[in-house]
Amino acid sequence: MIKVSGLTKDYGSRRAINNLNFDCQQGEIVGFLGPNGAGKTTTMRILTGYMPPSDGEAIVAGYDVVEESLEVRKRVGYLPETVPLYYDMVVFDYLKYMGELRHIPNVDERVEEALDMVGLINRSDGYIGNLSKGMKQRVGLAQALLHRPEVLILDEPTIGLDPGQVVEVRELIRSIGKERTVLLSTHLLNEAQNLCDRVLIINKGKIVAEDTTENLQARLLGAERVVVRVRGEADELASSIKTVKGVRKVETLDDGGVEFEFASGKDLRPEVARQVIGDGYDLLELRPLGMSLEEIFLELTGNEGKK
């Protein structure tokens, strides 16, 4: 649904994005992850037909973003970073205006449908300027969903929402992502981790990693770490675990657990469990330790976040 090749954008002498290549399939939620100024918004603005690229091409919903911009814009729902709202308009009128610009049939029903999806149906006759930040965000989201777009492009969709609303909006995005294509940018790593099928990590205008969240973790670590906890002494447990073939880097933890590592691809957890139980310990916990996306992110973006 989205196919980007060699996409480049210069602002004057500054290169915002440099030779981007990626694609998104239908029914996929793709996360766009990167520090501020990495080029996320620029890429999204090009994909939505807001601005043309300096070089390269992008095909969205089967149409070229430069040559057939209007066709692309008909098929894309876009929530920009600064939610574009007319504060002196009533919620319903605003959405109806946007619906009319998109030539939606039965526009009144469709506006209500969109308001219902974002849970704002009871505020439809209020002025946008009087809504809270989270509600404004959801009006923007309703605007993006109004015309049932094939491709949904969301620039930081959950920013400014309270935790309950974040869960609701993520649920909504997840259900939309089943049939359509969703490209969302975020700087919340756990959001990318639990919402997206695939993550693109972008830094300084270049894609530095592209994979499923699980694969990214596995690839970067090259090994899997597991923590074991039993009733009893950690030191003795550690020496017991060391006897299992293939186990590396056994360490005792301060809280009484034992952590070890094995090469990814060959799961040694059953062997370790047998060994521990066989030695007469009461096994309490055997838990894989995924490397968090935060760590991957910092590693890929050159630890800039730590400074």
Binding site: Y11, R45, T48, G49, Y50, M51, P52, L70, E71, R73, K74, V76, Y78, P80, T82, V83, P84, L85, Y86, Y87, D88, M89, Y97, M98, E100, L101, R102, H103, Q143
Partner: protein
């Protein structure tokens, strides 16, 4: 075409959401009403002593145009500037709307408001018609109103074009005011000062063709001049939006 109408309709409604529409209407209709009463009063005084010409509606329309020189920049200043400042321009530029449709729609919205005010001012010729025997010259009134629509359309098109360039609405107000003031009051001045060949400046003034139409003489050149200035204003606006995209 449908998009132009959708945008124009919202802009028209939007004038009445805030105080702007009422302020402009007050600033136009109050002086016009006072002026109209004075004309009626003066003419009736003269008629009582058996002299003077029958009053006509034309001088009041001249006042309307004079006031619009200062008020039309206020009507157009936020049309596109404010969209850029609030970020809603991004919404319109990613909706399936052509840049030209957006600019024309904005202009038409302001035009609709002017047409609404002009509709109100029609009471003056109607009232006058009752006082004058055998009635006023309606063809001259029509000519005057066509002139009003064209000259206001020109001012608004200049304003929309300038509004597309600036993000700050006060910048767009003062630049628009400057351009309109120059084209209305100043560009014709050399005609009276130069010993010869100065007439060309008369053709560049946006005041002269209107004055002729107000007096009942429509000239093709005048109409063409207004229409080309309207096109130029709207073209400038569209180009400014396109440049915004490429930046």
């Amino acid at each position: 075409m449908k998009n132009i109408w959708t945008i124009a309709k919202r802009e028209y409604d939007n004038y009445f959401n805030g105080p702007l529409a009422y302020v402009v209407m007050l600033a136009v209709l109050l002086p016009m009403g006072i002026y109209f009463s004075l004309i009626l009063f003066y003419s009736s005084q003269q008629a009582m002593f058996g002299g003077g010409a029958a009053p006509s509606a034309q001088p009041i329309n001249g006042l309307f145009v004079f006031l619009m020189v200062f008020l039309s920049p206020a009507l157009t200043m936020r049309l596109l500037s404010d969209e850029a400042r609030m970020g809603t321009l991004e919404l319109l530029l990613t909706a399936p709307v052509r840049d030209s449709e957006l600019v024309i729609g904005k202009w038409l919205g302001a035009m609709l408001f002017i047409l609404f005010v002009l509709l109100i001012t029609l009471v003056y010729p109607l009232v006058l018609n009752n006082f004058v025997e055998p009635g006023i010259d309606w063809l001259a009134v029509i000519s005057s109103y066509i002139g009003l629509i064209l000259v206001c359309g020109t001012m608004l098109a200049i304003g929309v074009g300038v509004s597309a360039i600036f993000t700050n609405q006060f910048a767009s107000f003062f630049v628009t005011l400057g351009i309109i003031f120059f084209l209305y009051f100043m560009i014709g001045l050399p005609a009276g000062l130069l010993p010869q060949g100065g007439e060309v400046f008369n053709y560049l003034s946006i005041q002269n063709p209107y004055d002729q139409m107000n007096a009942g003489t429509m000239t093709l050149g005048g109409i063409a001049y207004y229409l080309s200035l309207i096109s130029l204003g709207l073209f400038t606006g569209t180009t400014a939006i396109e440049i915004r995209r490429w930046r």
